[in-house]
């Protein structure tokens, strides 16, 4: 009897889990994965549309990996001259590199090849664009503050690497457009004093264009750069888990909690579904809209340059910088040519990139704030930061737009010279205008918020009091709304204080100066005493 009962019990326990339970148990006993699932599955993510922009970048990268793997099956990274004999009639019999011929074969003679090429290229454009937009969200909400400064740096390096991936990929088909792009890079490299020519010869294996560059860029494009990107993405995501997700200010949201939904089941389903949405949109674009029609450009030949030769959008700012430089900046000195028409854009862009890269550290130094921040700033509540961002965006946008100066000229029926001169003016003055306008708008919005918290919304209802006095009744703001409006950090300009030796250092003075510049104009958040006083005024 007793033995019989134990066996039935055993059978029953086995049955209760079923096959899934048994399998899960099997895996868990060997990998201890349940800890990780428990940890990750209960991870809370707050809900906001702007928090999905990084995911768009991640998904585009997955699409790029998949379509790129397909392309590697058929692409031949060689510059050996061959005679094209594929099915595109207007190139038949034309001599071109094996790289170009195989890209044409992918486009015309391999089933699904053109679709995959267009998926790869559209997804690449989307990848960099999504990173850019994600980065702007991080910047304008102050999500780069402690403890996330390093993740900002990783993310920005990813942005640079994505551009490098894009550029190396753009150069691989060895068509006229990509060759022209490489020629500009070659010119920029050669413009560097002393080392330029050497680096150029090293890069191209001799005089441009040579027969080596496509193979070399291919190694970078499919091996080194993706490996670094994958590693950095892993680190980036790990940090997101370690730091917990930031959230916008709101009722019940503090620096110590995260309000939202758990990964399992809500976010796993949402994010998984979102991947297919992104995939679907990329597929739709790729199947309906031509991108990079290499058959029009033809094989690379150093003599022709087409009108409307531009890089892909993410390199546009660099092309624009070259177009903005006025003539006459090249001269011979010490028996060498000094190409300041190339050096000035190179140095300017280098500095711009450096400032963006280290911005979190600059701001941390100015504020002297060592606290952790998990609640995001509404952009208006950090007026100077938002204004700096607007100035940076304006500068970038002007350079970017300049890269299409010729298209602007033809399509808006204006002169090319007029476009360039306007852009030269805007590149210098535009950021200042953007800074002041944005800062004033932020301060005005803060004042409006303050007004709403203290006096509520205007209801439009006029009431006559028994004494004959007329008042307008204000509708007080509800507590949820008020939470959003009053909870933000306020910084005061730092005072210059002597250090332990009783001296005021230059660094101290610089910091105080920067701090004054940052926080001189500010609107203080409404304090609870102010709030109480305003309430007693009204009721």
């Amino acid at each position: 009897m007793s033995t019989a009962t134990t066996t039935t019990e055993l059978v029953e326990t086995k049955k209760s889990g079923g096959l899934t339970g048994a399998a899960a148990n099997y895996i868990d006993e060997r990998t201890s994965i349940s800890t990780a699932v428990k940890e990750l599955g209960r991870k809370i993510f707050p809900d906001h549309w702007s928090f999905l922009l990084g995911e768009v970048a991640l998904y585009s990268f997955v699409i790029i990996l998949l379509s790129g793997s397909f392309l590697t099956f058929f692409f031949s990274a060689s510059m050996t001259p061959v005679e094209y004999d594929g099915s595109y009639m207007p190139l038949k019999g034309v001599e071109m590199s094996a790289a170009m011929a195989s890209s044409l074969d992918i486009s015309f003679d391999i089933r699904g090849g053109l679709l995959m090429r267009q998926v790869h290229h559209w997804a690449a454009l989307l990848f960099v664009a999504a990173i850019g937009l994600h980065m702007l969200r991080i910047y304008f909400t102050g999500a780069f503050r402690k403890p996330r400064e390093l993740n900002w740096v990783i993310g920005f390096v990813l942005f640079i690497l994505a551009m490098a991936e894009g550029f190396t990929g753009y150069s691989l088909p060895d068509d006229l457009l990509s060759g022209n792009g490489l020629r500009i890079i070659d010119g920029m490299v050669k413009g560097m004093p002393l080392v330029g020519t050497w680096i150029s010869f090293l890069l191209f294996g001799g005089e441009f264009p040579g027969e080596a560059i496509v193979g070399r860029l291919y190694s970078l494009h499919i091996l080194l750069l993706p490996a670094i990107i994958v590693a950095l993405i892993a680190m980036h995501l790990l940090f997101v888990v370690v730091h917990k997700h930031t959230q916008y200010p709101g009722a019940g949201r503090t620096n110590q909690n995260v309000v939202g939904y758990p990964v399992l089941p809500v976010y796993a389903a949402k994010a998984g579904g979102f991947f297919f949405i992104v995939f679907g949109i990329v597929m739709l674009m790729a199947s309906l809209f031509t991108i990079n029609p290499i058959w029009n450009y033809g094989p690379y030949d150093p003599s022709p340059v087409s009108a409307g030769t531009q890089p892909d959008w993410y390199i546009g700012f660099a092309d624009g910088a070259l177009r903005l430089i006025p003539p006459g900046l090249e001269f011979v000195w010490l028996d060498r040519t000094w190409s300041f028409n190339i050096l000035i854009p190179l140095v300017t862009l280098g500095l711009f990139i450096l400032v963006v890269l280290i911005y979190p550290f600059i701001e941390a130094w100015v504020t002297g704030d060592k606290r952790e921040h998990h609640i995001l700033d509404r952009p208006r509540n950090a007026p100077t930061r938002t204004a700096i961002g607007a100035a940076g965006v304006t500068f970038y946008a002007v350079l970017w737009a300049t890269a299409s100066s010729d298209i602007i000229a033809t399509h808006f029926k204006v002169t090319m010279e007029g476009v360039i001169h306007t852009m030269q003016f805007l590149a210098i003055v535009g950021p200042f205008i953007a800074f002041f306008v944005t800062k004033r708008i932020c301060l005005a919005l803060q004042k409006k918020d303050r007004e709403i918290v203290l006096h509520g919304y205007e209801s439009g209802r006029i009431v006559r009091l028994p004494g004959g006095e007329y008042i307008e009744v204000h509708q007080p703001v509800d507590e949820y709304e008020r939470w959003k409006l009053v909870s933000y950090n306020d910084y005061k300009p730092l005072m210059i204080r002597p250090n332990s030796q009783g001296k005021i250092t230059v660094g101290q003075k610089a910091r105080a100066g920067m701090s004054r510049w940052f926080f001189e104009d500010r609107i203080e958040p409404v304090s609870s005493t102010e709030l109480e006083r305003s309430h007693s005024d009204h009721h």
Binding site: P90, L91, V94, L125, F274, M285, L288, N296, G298, G316
Partner: protein, 270 residues
């Protein structure tokens, strides 16, 4: 046989005028004379007819010219301060400028724009005949060069080397200095493409027959017609303007629709 025939031959030589060579020569002279006379007669009548016809056309053209063109180009077509001399520009130039509506120019601008054609085909032909009568110049192209049956691959290569720097590889047009531009080439007729190459209208250089042979011009026309008749294999071409229109499309429609969907996804839970 030879011994017998020899005396016969000597006998024939005595006859002298009866030689077969002589009769052949006589017939030849006769034929040449009559044929030549006939030919001379017939050509003289034919040229007299065409002369009369073209004289009339030229006269028509001169009247049209005086009424519509002389204000800028001068009554003798020798040019004024407002317009260049047309002596020696040839019929091809007139056919292109007037046939595409660029002339008569109605607005002073960086360059004469293509617009609705102002004259009938006959009037254009008269104008062309008048200008061609002033001095020799590029004539209207032969129809065999405009059939679009040339070598598109050669045409595409020549187009990339000679034309694409202004007109863009896909013939989408491009900017020049001071507000001038190279127009888009989609839908331009074969004849006008050829005439533009030979005459170099406005800012365009002349591609004479030493530079690009008539057969190569035929190839270029073949390539441009190929582009006209075959839509982009990749789908909508976005104006064939290259990375600028691609980037703009990606940011506005690609990323725009994705951001709209992120808003939708997160809005559902609220």
């Amino acid at each position: 046989m030879t011994t017998i025939s020899t005396p016969k031959q000597t006998g024939g030589r005595k006859a002298g005028r009866r030689s077969p060579l002589a009769s052949v020569a006589l017939i030849a002279i006769g034929l040449l004379f009559t044929g030549g006379a006939y030919a001379a007669f017939s050509t003289s009548t034919a040229s007299a007819e065409t002369n009369a016809a073209s004289q009339q056309t030229v006269g028509e053209g001169q009247k049209l010219f005086a009424a519509n063109c002389a204000t800028c180009h001068g009554l003798e077509a020798a040019g004024t301060e407002a317009g260049p001399s047309l002596i020696g520009v040839g019929a091809a130039s007139v056919d292109f400028q007037v046939g595409t509506g660029r002339m008569p120019m109605q607005l002073n601008g960086p360059q004469a724009e293509k617009k609705a054609v102002q004259f009938t085909d006959e009037q254009i032909a008269s104008l062309a005949a008048y200008v061609a009568s002033l001095a020799p110049g590029p004539a209207l192209p032969d129809a065999s060069l405009l059939d679009g049956e040339g070598d598109a691959a050669n045409g595409a290569e020549l187009f990339r080397i000679n034309c694409a720097m202004c007109h863009n590889v896909a013939g989408a047009g491009g900017a020049l200095t001071q507000g001038k531009y190279a127009p888009a080439l989609a839908g331009v007729t074969e004849k006008h493409i050829y005439e533009a190459m030979v005459t170099g209208p406005q800012n365009m250089p002349v591609f004479n027959d030493m530079n690009i042979s008539p057969e190569s011009k035929r190839d270029i026309i073949t390539y441009l017609k190929y582009l006209d008749n075959n839509p982009s294999p990749g789908g909508f071409a976005l104006g064939a303007l290259g990375p600028v229109s691609e980037g703009l499309f990606l940011w506005i429609f690609g990323l725009g629709s994705i951001v709209a969907l992120t808003v939708w996804i997160t809005a559902k839970s609220n």
